[in-house]
Symmetry: C2
Subunit: 455 residues, 2 copies
């Protein structure tokens, strides 16, 4: 064959292939913005079922509901995967006061996940404000008998709100343990929230290897509450703080990951996971965190099925249980995957809220990263521009197949921490179109990896 | 000089210049996310002043407030520009019912801007549902004596919500005129809203060259109301619709554009405008439309002043009056600019809401478009990716300098029509960080054009 002919054929093949992918993405986005059921599913999950903390009746209702909805899609397999999960219950709504001489000012707090309760009478002590775990170590005995108040705010100047969260969340996660080691009697942590408001934001914390007897109660305070407490402390460093927590840790209980599959036509043994986590915190409905990710993952299956797309590889929707407080679902999934000698080539998680999608955060090698970058033009009409290396998702972190591309959907992050783990993480905080655009973006990305494989 | 030396110097100069711009953008974004006053200004405009329809006391308070705030920035000039504007007043809250045999169902409506009132008893007539102005023309006498119900929804499948608005808004703007020409007694228009909810969305409409005696009352109905009415019409095509509007058009009144300037150090005669519009609709506070754009434009002046940036060209903040209902402020601005033989090289408007910025929509020639594209990398760290040709802004449309680049800030558009011209366009719909990122993006773009000029 002449070189020019070969070149002509290559160009034709390229244009044809481009055009096929362009058309498929067009179909995916159109279906998503007009027909996908994500928003209706999220309405049910949020408003009919509500909060789904692991081990709760809500979580079990979520399992039954999503299994049933996946079954109605007519995909090849739908099943549950057993997993033992922690069960921690908040109990009575918390109360807290700043006690400044004779004035008593109520402030909004909530126990952090895994915290022990205070005594029934509550805890009353002086407060010491700090801005880092390091500072507590340095203070040493100076914190003894006191409530340590971690008040380092999320940095407003980062463009990505998750960066600010990452730079701040150690106070919440490890703060109680370190304060307990130095003899503190409790901790309160400024909520991980970039906004000043009255919502306390819960979240996981860990006492690590402390003996149980040394556990101290730990709670989050709203950002407005933190500002007020800090101001009052400047006026009177000996003021007292009162808090009462009634939370309790129970034995682990049986729960489930929910799984639905479309079997691959060419490589049924190669698995591409798409998922979110079904559990939420207990203060609201977990619409953003992570009802949105769950219904988007289910939406990917619906999109492929309804567009009659037959994937080459097996597409597996996984709704993980217990991301928020132990990550047992993700760990169990990997354990069983190893046991069954499964071959995962790709995993995509959506766990950053149902906001306008902006791109993907990727854990992969250079070859696959370059491949993704060759698709950038395909995504431009959908305003998807950001393909970067970075953390993909907590539930897919345990997956250890030798060759695997991991991705996290990157939605716009500015509003996420207004709702994260707080009582306003409700259905009305999610915009239908933004949610649907996320599902379309996920389906498009999976379609391209399914077509072209991983390197 | 040797060619290689020249090349080396050019590369050095390029790298130096890149790095200078990178640093400036970094400073701009950091200042915006930590110190700019936009959000506090918007709080005042929304919650202390409220609705600012042109010719209203709210609009005049808005003029006084923003003038004063610009003065506190210590910029070179702050002044008002007189402009006569239309004054239309809604009067009593509208009432409307679907009258189906003996049942009477209240539905949420609001008069469109410029509509005449119904009689004091209200208007009662049969309804005919249509989906376009063309259809009304074809129906002709069949609409006589009836209320024409325009019910073509915004298309959900477009990625840019403004495209759907553009494809739909003719029903609102020209619908009443055409229906009146065919003998209809009133019109109701499905609200320009991509969401199903209970908010009617007002907006400008025009009777065009119709004799005043032929004007008919026209109102918007909420999307849920439109769905219900359409359903009921399918069951009973002879049902009656009742509506009562008390609105009234008054004589034009004196108002103002608000202007603040930083005089250029090298080319004081070359003017770069940055603006939004100070008037709003009357149903809410106009926080998104266009309080956000106003405070962002003011924010640009604050950013430059506080960062001690001395622009080469004159930066002129213009808060236009009466964009919503006649565009008199923009027209007057251009008229005076011509009269004073001013030379505008650049104009940027923010009038698409205070959501996360995504890029700019540009009216310019190829040379300047290429220049903008050479800055793409500078904006990547701020997740600003979309530089496209398209409509820049209504208030800057009249500007006719022979060489001018016009730009419109492009925020994420998915949520905009949830609030546009409706009673929920309030302060709490605007996120502080998204607003501030918009101001930073505008300041950065102006900085680059100020540094490198237009071609």
């Amino acid at each position: 064959m002449k070189k020019t002919t070969l070149f002509f054929l290559m160009v034709t093949a390229f244009l044809h292939s481009q055009s096929k992918d362009e058309l498929m993405l067009k179909d995916i986005y159109k279906f998503s913005l007009t027909k996908v059921q994500c928003y209706a599913w999220l309405d049910d999950l949020s408003n009919k079922i509500g909060a789904r903390p692991s081990g709760s009746p809500g979580a079990e209702k979520g399992v039954a509901y999503t299994k049933k909805q996946l079954e109605t899609l007519g995909i090849d397999k739908v099943y549950l995967q057993e997993v033992m999960v922690p069960k921690w219950v908040r109990g009575e709504k918390e109360t807290a006061y700043i006690l400044d001489n004779k004035t008593k000012i109520a402030v909004p707090i909530c126990a952090l996940g895994g915290s022990v309760a205070t005594s029934q009478k509550g805890l009353n002590a002086e407060v010491i404000e700090v801005h880092s775990i390091e500072e507590v170590k340095q203070l040493g005995v100076a914190v003894k008998g006191k409530i340590v108040f971690y008040n380092r705010p999320m940095e407003p100047e980062n463009i990505e709100a998750f960066k600010s969260y990452g730079n701040c969340v150690d106070q919440r996660f490890y703060g109680a343990k370190e304060a307990a080691l130095q003899g503190a009697v409790g901790t309160i942590v400024r909520s991980m929230n970039l906004r000043l408001d009255d919502f306390p934001h819960t979240g996981a914390q860990s006492y690590g290897d402390l003996p149980k007897a040394n556990y101290i109660p730990t709670a989050a305070i709203s950002t407005n509450g933190a500002e007020l407490l800090s101001k009052k402390l400047k006026e009177n460093s000996h003021l007292q703080f009162f808090m009462k927590l009634s939370c309790k840790q129970y034995d682990d209980v049986l729960s489930y990951n929910v799984i639905g599959e479309i079997t691959g036509t060419e490589h049924p043994e190669k698995i591409m996971v798409v998922g979110g986590h079904l559990d939420s915190w207990d203060l609201a409905d977990g619409a953003q965190d992570d009802g949105a990710g769950c219904v988007q993952a289910m939406g990917v299956a619906e999109i492929f099925k309804k567009l009659n797309y037959k994937p080459k590889n097996t597409i597996r929707v996984v709704l993980f249980m217990n991301e928020e407080f132990g990550g047992k679902g993700g760990k169990k999934y990997e354990e069983l995957s190893k046991l069954n000698q499964e071959n995962h080539i790709f995993a995509l998680e959506s766990d950053s809220g149902g906001f306008s999608p902006r791109g993907f955060s990727l854990e992969c090698d250079e070859a696959n990263f370059n491949k993704v970058n060759s698709w950038v033009k395909l995504f431009e009409p959908y305003l998807i521009h950001s393909f970067v290396k970075g953390h993909a998702g907590s539930d897919i972190t345990p997956l250890t197949s030798s060759k695997i591309v991991k991705a996290g959907l990157k939605p716009d992050s500015q509003r996420y921490f207004d709702y994260h783990h707080a009582a306003n993480d409700k259905f009305d905080s999610v915009n239908k179109r933004e949610l649907e655009l996320g599902a379309a973006t996920m389906a498009s990305f999976i379609y391209l990896f399914d077509q072209y494989g991983i390197d």
